[in-house]
Amino acid sequence: MAFAAFATTEAQPQAPKRKSRIALFLLLPGILYMVLFFLTPLISLILTSLQAPNEFGDIGVYDYAFNWQNYVTVVQEYWPHILRSFGYALVATVLALAFSYPLAYFIGVKARRWPLLQSVMLVLVIAPFFISFLLRTLAWKQLLSDESFIITSLKALSLMAPDAHFTGTPAAVIFGLTYNFIPFMTLPLYTTLERLDLRYLEAGSDLYANPFTVFRKVTIPLSMPGIVAGTLLTFIPAAGDYVNASRDFLGGPDTQMMGNVIEANFLVLLNYPAAAALSIILMAAILVLVGIYVRRSGTEDLL
């Protein structure tokens, strides 16, 4: 009871505690949702990836086990697909950035004086979302097929060999990935460039930096949050994409990416452990790559 004198001081930390309890309460629906629809499937996926085939069962019947060799097997079997996934995603991200940056710069900086033009251009960037991306990708398949006007014209102009194809090649897959993810690159870039304070650019040129150096030393670093956000929003879904590379769309037998292999293992080969192991590898690889990237780009204090 000697501590009774300290009762008031002890009571003080209570206030923030009560506050955090309310915060916790408000977070509850979100936490429940995450547990139900993110954590549970993730655990189930990890468990599946370690399953072993049932000795006496049919194809597609597996028992819970700790069969970590699944990971070794899929890496041995599918390493070209894994490399191809990240390779294609990387090239598509770089292309989307190269295409989107000037576009976003124009909308966000050069068109500031004409708000109407800005809005129209933004609507045009978002417009493709009004149609399902499956339909749009199918449309590209038609537009780029061997009998299409584009390809026959290119062949007529001798810009393409007479027996060459476009669909089914890596170029077609990368084209499809780039095309489909450009809005995800353009929009975050636009939001940072739209807020770019042009007085910094003036200060740069006042301090003897030529326009290229101003761009490299001032504009790019200041738009880094947009570049990081845009490249992540493009790279992550592109690495896991299985539509563009699919034989039904722009891909061919030699362009299969991880997404296609996972799909085939789950739905065709009924090799659930292999599919789950590949999914975990994809997820882990993306997490590591993104972690390194965010660290290296040094955007913590700009974000």
Partner: protein, 401 residues
């Protein structure tokens, strides 16, 4: 490239603006501007907002292109030269420190662009000059406004430009810090001996810091000279009222002697020395500064060396400690403002008192403006109107705080 950025004058360079005109879509910022700023001087361009002073600065920096005219720095035509090739640096009103770089990187930026050796050592030296070397590794956002202002200054002077442009750099600081920075700037200018072109709307700042002040109005320079000269002998109604306050009277020249002219203002003769009057015949505007006017409770003896007006009535007294401002209404002439040093105890007259005002003939000045032309400013020239405006501004300021 007509000027190599390496060709920097050690002690600053002359700036010459010849027949500059700048039009923007919809309005003309600068109508016709000719200006020469000698090397090593501290030149202030003073004017109200929208008078074209910041545009002038941006033209010199190369951030805007003139519609017409030429800009010469150290005798070389730089009109066609791009901003990054001009031997000029600016301290921006917003400071514009790069937020993604540390203080030292900000200061060394210009040196690195010009590939000058030991950029870091020079940058540290510049930071020592503004007493901020201990914050070299911080980011601009971690510094106070006054510190950022000093970094902006260091970032500009470290390049030893031929010409340093200051765009109201003290505008965002509070009064005390402002006074301190004014002194520091002046000291630095004397130390490094660069040519400073300072743009401001603060007449006190311009007068305390600059050795030459140009008063700018509506895109052209009204008057230019040393601060004392500008204050004691304004040439236009605008300068007389923008740079301090003035009592102005309009009348016809009634007589001329070898040394003075007499002006008939509603029946009262006011005398101005010929050398201090710009116009010697016809309708003229003459004036006197309020602190040069004396207030009398009794009619003063008539003397050829003093102008006397009165009797009139005190219509307003405002006591500000050091001095008292009286506004005296004189029938037929208008109102006269008097600043009296508080040498007695409290005000010497109160509202409604009958008083006379007088001033030394030598203290009067005659303006160059044609009163007929100046007519359109009538509402502004009335000293009473200005006093009322000042009081309203003061009241508004008090209410705000």
């Amino acid at each position: 490239m007509s000027v190599s950025v390496r060709e920097f004058a050690e002690r600053g360079a002359d700036l010459e603006l010849v027949g500059i005109q700048k039009r923007f879509p919809g309005f003309t910022a600068i109508e016709e501007l000719d200006l020469t700023i000698p090397a090593g001087s501290f030149f202030a361009l003073l004017g109200p907002s929208g008078c074209g002073k910041t545009t002038t600065l941006r033209l010199v920096a190369g951030l805007e292109e003139p519609t017409r005219g030429r800009i010469l720095i150290g005798g070389t035509d730089v009109t066609e030269t791009k901003a990054h090739q001009r031997p000029v640096n600016t301290v921006f009103q917003s400071y514009a420190l790069f937020p993604h770089m540390s203080i030292i990187e900000n200061v060394a930026f210009g040196l690195r662009r010009r590939r000058i050796g030991d950029a870091d050592a020079r940058a540290h030296e510049a930071l020592r000059l503004v007493e901020l070397d201990h914050l070299a590794q911080r980011r601009p956002a971690q510094l106070s406004g006054g510190q950022q202002q000093r970094v902006a200054l260091a970032r500009a002077i470290v390049n030893r430009p031929a010409l340093l442009l200051l765009d109201e750099p003290l505008g965002a600081l509070d009064l005390k810090l402002r006074r301190q920075m004014q002194l520091e700037l002046k000291t630095i200018q004397e130390e490094v001996g660069l040519t400073f072109l300072h743009v401001t709307h603060d007449q006190e700042e311009a007068m305390t810091m600059a050795d030459t002040v140009a008063v700018m109005n509506k895109g052209s320079i009204e008057q230019m000279g040393a601060p004392e000269q500008l204050y004691e002998l304004p040439r236009t109604v605008f300068v007389a009222n923008f740079l301090g306050q003035s009592n102005l009277f309009t009348g016809r020249v009634a007589g001329t002697t070898d040394t003075a002219i007499a002006v008939d203002v509603q029946g009262t003769r006011l005398v101005v020395p010929t050398t201090r009057a710009a116009r010697h015949q016809g309708e003229v505007t003459i004036g006197v500064r309020p602190e040069k006017v004396a207030l009398h409770r009794d009619a003063p003896a008539v003397s050829p060396s003093r102008n006397v007006l009165g009797p009139g009535h005190v219509i307003d007294v405002s006591f500000s400690g050091v001095s008292t401002q009286y506004i005296v209404s004189i029938t037929g002439v208008g109102t006269v403002t008097v600043f009296a040093q508080n040498i007695g105890i409290g005000p010497i007259a109160s509202e409604g008192d009958e008083v006379w005002v007088s001033w030394d003939v030598e203290h009067g000045f005659g303006l160059d403006d044609d009163p007929a032309d100046a007519g359109k400013f009538a509402a502004d020239d009335d000293t009473h109107a200005i006093a009322v405006q000042r009081r309203e501004a003061l009241v508004a300021e008090l209410e705000e705080s």
